[in-house]
């Protein structure tokens, strides 16, 4: 294969890394861990991935990909198709609209942005799931999950930052 061909393959690989990291986070979030109550209050890892990549590489986060990731998660957890897809699409739209504000700011502002997104996404998921199942589902564990999601965000953001540096690179200026 010539240089141009290799470059094209490398470029394609770089473009799929964000999507793959989010898919990996979806799988990671649902591993069977030997801790009581963990599964109920597990942090929303995929939401962290979506938030991070939409802020730093929105060009690699098309809506259709977000939609597909949401459907994949719904299939995996046995939720109605479209539930996670809808929540992720709305989160994507909101983050995209605030991206210019978040870019280039200190980490605590970036984190604070996520601390706004995570409760809204958690609450929306709770409302949709409760409506779908026809009962008020437990909300205390959802609150615990939201808190854990916000607390765990810096660790996942750090991993994503390094995966971006090594594998993806910065966005080209518009």
């Amino acid at each position: 294969m010539n240089q141009t061909g290799l470059g094209a393959v490398g470029n394609l690989a770089r473009r799929v890394v964000p999507g793959l990291t989010i898919l990996f986070l979806v799988l990671l979030a649902h591993l069977h861990l030997p801790f009581s109550f963990y599964v109920e209050i597990a942090p929303a890892l995929p939401l962290m991935g979506i938030y991070y990549w939409v802020v730093f590489r929105p060009d690699l986060m098309p809506r259709i990909m977000i939609f597909a990731i949401g459907l994949f998660q719904d299939a995996l957890i046995g939720a109605p198709f479209g539930l996670s897809a809808m929540v992720y699409l709305l989160a994507h739209g909101f983050v995209l609209s605030q991206r210019r504000f978040l870019m280039g700011k200190p980490f605590w502002i970036f984190w604070s942005g996520f601390a706004i997104i995570a409760p809204v996404a958690g609450a929306l998921t709770w409302v949709l799931a409760s409506a779908f199942r026809g009962a008020f589902l437990p909300s205390d564990v959802v609150l615990a999950s939201i808190v854990l999601t916000v607390i765990a965000f810096p660790a996942i953001a750090w991993l994503l930052l390094h995966s971006q540096r090594w594998l993806v690179g910065a966005a080209e200026p518009a």
Partner: protein
């Protein structure tokens, strides 16, 4: 000059058109997500089939990812055992003495049972076929209580079969792929298990409520159920065999009775799927094992 103006006006139009197209795409995807949710409510076969295919496709990845977790658990257990080996040895010796006495009693009862059955010309129930499978994912959470296991139609797992562990009832098979299956836990909102309270003989229904403590429904108001009573499967409904432990009453008040399940789901690494050859309360399985499919390699026992 006129040509240049025309190309500029086209370029000027392209940006708003692109913005409108993006907004339309966003709204169209949201509408599609909503429509899919409504279709999921109707439980259409195509969507269920799609879900099963996706889970089946990703099952080997989940299985591989769960290996390091299991290895870590094993290391942790080994380290813990190393420090308690003497105390554990003493406890096991005492337990062995007690079990030997029980074995003696059991043998006497076995002989007595056989004699009585012979006198009554009793037709014994056939032993259930069982498949042992690894738990590869916790697909539940606050909204859905389910597990994925690495056994499916190719291991003769069918929808509706009972899933148990050494400690008692885990749930029942809700979806079956070729090499994976989803287990609806007894704590899920949709779970209903016919049961009896062992001490009183009252028939009840153990109902999941999406918490870790399922409740007991349809219990007579004057029933003397108290904290610590065991609740076991009654065998009604044809899914679970009678006598399997479900839980112990942890709260008993006028308004509600709550169980502490005997199975600790978080510690569950393997589960047994029992096949009693009964259809159960679920509709017939959508997927049946292919003719000539191999016998389970994940650990089929009799």
């Amino acid at each position: 000059m006129a040509k240049r103006n025309a190309s500029m006006s086209v370029a000027g139009l392209a940006v708003p058109v692109r913005i409108w197209a993006q907004r339309f795409a966003f709204l169209a995807l949201l509408a599609l997500a909503f429509a899919l949710m409504l279709l999921s409510k109707a439980e259409t076969g195509a969507l269920q089939q799609a879900r099963v295919l996706i889970v089946d496709g990703v099952a080997p990845v989940l299985s591989a990812l769960s290996r390091p977790v299991e290895a870590g658990q094993e290391v942790s257990r080994s380290v813990k055992n190393f420090f308690i080996v003497h105390a554990e040895n003493k406890r096991l010796r005492q337990e062995n003495d007690r079990l030997l006495r029980w074995m003696q009693t059991a043998r006497q009862l076995e002989v007595e049972n056989a004699t009585l059955r012979a006198q009554l010309e009793y037709v014994p129930e056939s032993a259930p076929r069982a498949v042992t499978a690894r738990v590869i994912a916790d697909t539940g959470g606050a909204f859905y209580h389910s597990l994925l296991i690495n056994a499916g139609a190719r291991h003769f797992v069918q929808r509706g079969q009972a899933v148990v562990s050494q400690a008692g009832v885990v749930g029942r098979v809700a979806e079956v792929g070729d090499r994976s299956a989803r287990v609806l836990l007894l704590t899920d909102l949709n779970s209903r298990i016919p049961a009896i309270v062992e001490s009183t003989g009252d028939r009840v229904i153990v109902t999941g409520n999406n918490t870790n403590w399922p409740s007991v429904a349809y219990l007579a108001s004057n029933s003397p159920v108290s904290v610590g009573d065991r609740v076991v499967t009654s065998g009604h409904g044809g899914v679970f065999p009678p006598g399997l432990p479900i839980g112990v009453v942890s709260e008993a008040s006028e308004s509600r009775i709550v169980l502490q399940p005997t199975v600790e789901i978080a510690r569950l690494s393997e589960a047994r799927i029992l096949d009693y050859g009964v259809e159960g309360i679920l509709p017939p399985p959508e997927q049946v094992p292919a003719v000539g499919a191999k016998v389970s390699t994940v650990g089929t026992t009799q």
